[in-house]
Amino acid sequence: MSTALAPGFDEELWAAVGDPSRRRVLDALLTRGTATPTALADDLPLTRQAVTKHLAVLDRAGLVTARRHGREVRFAVQPARLDEATRALTDAARAWDRRLLAIKRIAEELAASEAGRAED
């Protein structure tokens, strides 16, 4: 769903990467390539249950995929979706840069015209 924040802004994606613990799970998974929740819990100061919960949110946001190997479930990062998250962050920052530049232009014009009137 898109919001006012930026066109095409994806709340689920942002909520997924917005949580610091979840970013660490994502980071650990990037380092390992593919991993089970147990392996990730070994890398992080989180329980396996907590890791599993974070992975479920990341999965819903499309940032990771799960694949069953026998009795294990292995997770991997979805590169295209991660790319989208990066782009969303850059786009939202760029939108504020555009607005700040417009404020600067308007304020400087206004200051110059008021200074001009003061001299008359």
Binding site: A4, P7, A15, G18, P20, L30, P79, R87, L89, A107
Partner: protein, 158 residues
């Protein structure tokens, strides 16, 4: 004042403007100016808790309601927006946009904007968590990593 940094939890940008603080304050807060730098039309009740409406014509047009959070002329103006449709913006369902103005040098102003609360938008399952609790560990890791990773990801897709 510590400069704010951008993370997936918040966007922080700033700019130096060659105009006095009171002029910048008017541009940031007055509807006639807001309708030039932000939206296509703007209405705003400039007091804490006051309502505002921005309309945008681009992308088929949309209406963005907002709620004023802080009004401290001429240094701080903050509002909440991006709440789900039909809901009033409050902490936990919206983002907070804070403008800070500080005089700098001879008649210039440093204007900074921070949009925070992104992690608490609906969809987050841990709204109770303070956004920046964990920032010493969580911040700065994924942003460089995402940047480093993205070109690889893009390359892999080609």
């Amino acid at each position: 004042m510590e400069p704010a940094v951008s993370t997936p939890d918040q966007i922080a940008r700033d700019i130096l403007i060659d105009a006095p603080v009171d002029v910048v304050w008017r541009v940031v807060t007055e509807p006639e100016h807001i309708a030039r730098w932000f939206s296509d039309t703007a209405e705003i009740d400039l007091r804490p808790g006051g309502d505002g409406v921005l309309t945008f014509r681009q992308n088929g047009g949309h209406v963005a309601p907002l709620v004023v959070d802080t009004v401290r002329p001429p240094t701080t103006f903050a509002f909440r927006w991006s709440a789900p449709e039909g809901e009033t913006a409050h902490e936990g369902n919206s983002t907070l946009v804070t403008f800070s103005l500080a005089p700098e040098g001879d008649g210039a102003t440093r204007l900074s904007v921070v949009e925070s609360g992104i992690a608490a938008l609906p969809g987050g399952d841990e709204r109770h968590r303070a956004f920046f609790d964990d920032h010493s560990q969580g911040w700065g890791t994924i942003v460089p990593r995402l940047g480093e990773y993205a070109p690889t990801a893009a390359g892999a897709l080609r």
